[in-house]
């Protein structure tokens, strides 16, 4: 399987593919196309999430930081369980491809 070709068409909404599911572990590919979190929405997840941007561009904001983080291809970060965060922006014209590793 290739995570970059072909890409799901995310015009109508983010596309999520489960790549691997094991006890306490789930790996997903998420394709965004301009989607962002709703205003004032914050993710507050029971699982940890390690995330890697494979293509595109995004701004991810943590509730405990003043500035959003600008993410490009190759950028990765760990989101601890219950650390509130939101997606402020994803590139509107080109797909943004995330690899997300959820763990508990």
């Amino acid at each position: 399987m290739n995570l970059l070709h072909p890409l799901a068409d995310a015009k109508a909404g983010e596309c999520v593919d489960e790549l691997l599911t094991r006890p306490s572990l789930r790996i997903e590919r998420i394709v965004s196309l301009g989607q962002a979190s709703p205003p004032d929405f914050w993710y507050n997840q029971a699982e940890g999430e390690w995330v890697l941007l494979l293509a595109g561009a995004a701004r991810l904001r943590f509730a405990d930081e003043d500035e959003a983080r600008e993410l490009g291809p190759g950028d990765c970060l760990d989101i601890a369980a219950h650390r509130r965060h939101r997606i402020d922006w994803t590139a509107p014209a080109t797909p943004t491809v995330w690899l997300a590793v959820f763990y508990s």
Copy 2:
């Protein structure tokens, strides 16, 4: 952290960076530059390993398959625990960047 810039110089040997370590989970970046498994060597790992090629090119061979698999950027596969495999080849002139998620 960015997994593509800067790249470790792997001329003298593969470079491994631990990105995340949790109970039953370890995420690593591995940078290869022409390295391959020694002749007749097979990995036989106690952990499962989900692997994604981020850059470069490689040939991965499973002991239970006749042909090596050609891997390029975006290609991913799951290597079950104890499924014997080896790296036949990695690109000699440009770095090959692997993301490896080890789980048990």
